[in-house]
Symmetry: C2
Subunit: 276 residues, 2 copies
């Protein structure tokens, strides 16, 4: 495994690569969710590139950029064990030189859900992902379903800008108790971690109600809200039941729907989703 | 020469190409300015791709998108004679499908000069150029110095987004009387075409004053303005003397400076520039 910090160095390496290349962009502090993407990339490509970069441009001024958990040594160790070929760990200065000024706007899609709660977030995400795709030039790039809107935004961006890459979205990986794996779970105390299991419970409740014939997003959201309120450590930030293609909120559920949930637990914001 | 209208079709062709590929993006109605780019591309690449696409996104609502001159038959004829390999002539629907919503913003640079006179223009330019680069994936892309700010914006975008392409800017091609070639010259009457020669005359005046030791942008602009005012058919839209790197207006000229001029002649807006 080769660890690379410079764009020029990666370009030189990239030019020599032959055969299909899979790419997994991450912000590090890797967990089994990331590793499921790495393993899928390993299975289907001759070369696997993983990037680790905590992208300042996708954090709001009052968000957790400074405190975002890091353990680069451990990350490199487990990526080596997974048989990754190249790890790209650029600095902020390398990715955003002094007079940097180019930004990608995916209008519409990015103003909903997470975009509404975190203004500018997806501009940062779209821009860094496009940069990383241009640097690594993979045939396939892998994202997790846990960040559902991110995956939708990236797919839209790749289609709109004709980026020559195949976008694969892999299922959310969960603890045995249902909590979706996230680097931000690290912020949670033991009690908060337990309380956080209400997130997936409420998503499964939505699923069960739907299977029992409920078609009203209002009623499904009410039931979810009631359940979550039974857990005093958890506060709802946003519940959405929307069309997966364009994230338009639904008046009635018939056909596929994306149920997305964002909550606060103390100072930690967690998201999760399920498809009905 | 193969003429292609579909993105998918071009992708399939592109995959089979070997060796260096040069790309010349155009809006058609080709003149010797375009052909100088095509010939440079032909000289240095195994494959030459030219696109012809009048990009609606870079025209303002009151601009000349509807009337922009076209002669696709003649364009294809001369490109064939120049030994071009692939001509890409997509439709607007192909480039901007119904729910298209992704835009590139090059902040700072695009708000000056042409960007100030034509709000949104460079967002349209940056977006279509990135799309075309992703579709054609050239090693080298060629632009003309006549659209100086466009070349600067594209170079900045390519650097910021790490687009793996080399940007070459070729000198402006002029009529024997000095008027820079432009598809929009087609709009000019015989009298207007003659009057338009004052544009380059005023740029040469700027150059001469500078060579004679004048360092004040205010004085150089005054002299240019006076000269242009002697031509009643021509109205100044903007004169700028700025740093070529970031288009910041200069208080004093020492080192390189880009003198840019935009004028109206009847309903036709023409631009030209010179480097001091």
């Amino acid at each position: 495994m080769i660890a690379v910090t410079g764009i020029e160095e990666l370009n030189n390496l990239r030019r020599k690569l032959k055969g299909p290349t899979g790419f997994v962009p991450t912000m590090g502090f890797l967990h089994e969710g990331h590793l499921s993407l790495v393993r899928e990339a390993r299975k289907h490509n001759q070369t696997v590139i993983v990037s680790i970069f905590v992208n300042p441009a996708q954090f709001g001024p009052s968000e957790d950029f400074q405190t975002y958990p890091k353990d680069i040594k451990h990350d490199l160790e487990i990526l080596r064990k997974e048989g990754v070929d190249i790890v790209f760990t650029p600095s902020s200065e390398e990715m955003y030189p002094e007079d940097y000024s180019t930004w990608i706007e995916v209008a519409g899609l990015t103003e909903k859900l997470e975009g509404a709660s975190r203004p500018g977030h997806f501009k940062g995400v779209a821009t860094i992902v496009l940069k990383l795709l241009n640097i690594t030039r993979p045939d396939v790039v892998y994202f997790g379903q846990k960040d559902a809107q991110q995956a939708i935004v990236i797919k839209h961006l790749v289609r709109d800008l004709n980026v020559p890459v195949n976008v694969i979205v892999m299922p959310t990986i969960r603890q045995p108790d249902g909590l979706a794996l996230s680097s931000r779970n690290y912020y949670l105390s033991k009690e908060e971690n337990e309380a956080a299991t209400i997130i997936y419970k409420s998503l499964r409740l939505a699923s069960k109600l739907y299977q029992n014939g409920e078609r009203s997003p209002v009623k499904i959201k009410q039931a979810m809200t009631e359940l979550i309120r039974s857990e005093p450590l958890v506060t709802i930030d946003d519940i959405s039941i929307a069309l997966p293609e364009n994230l338009e909120e639904l008046d009635i559920v018939n056909g596929q729907a994306l149920v997305s949930l964002a909550v606060w637990i103390g100072k930690t914001r967690l998201i999760d989703n399920i498809i009905l």
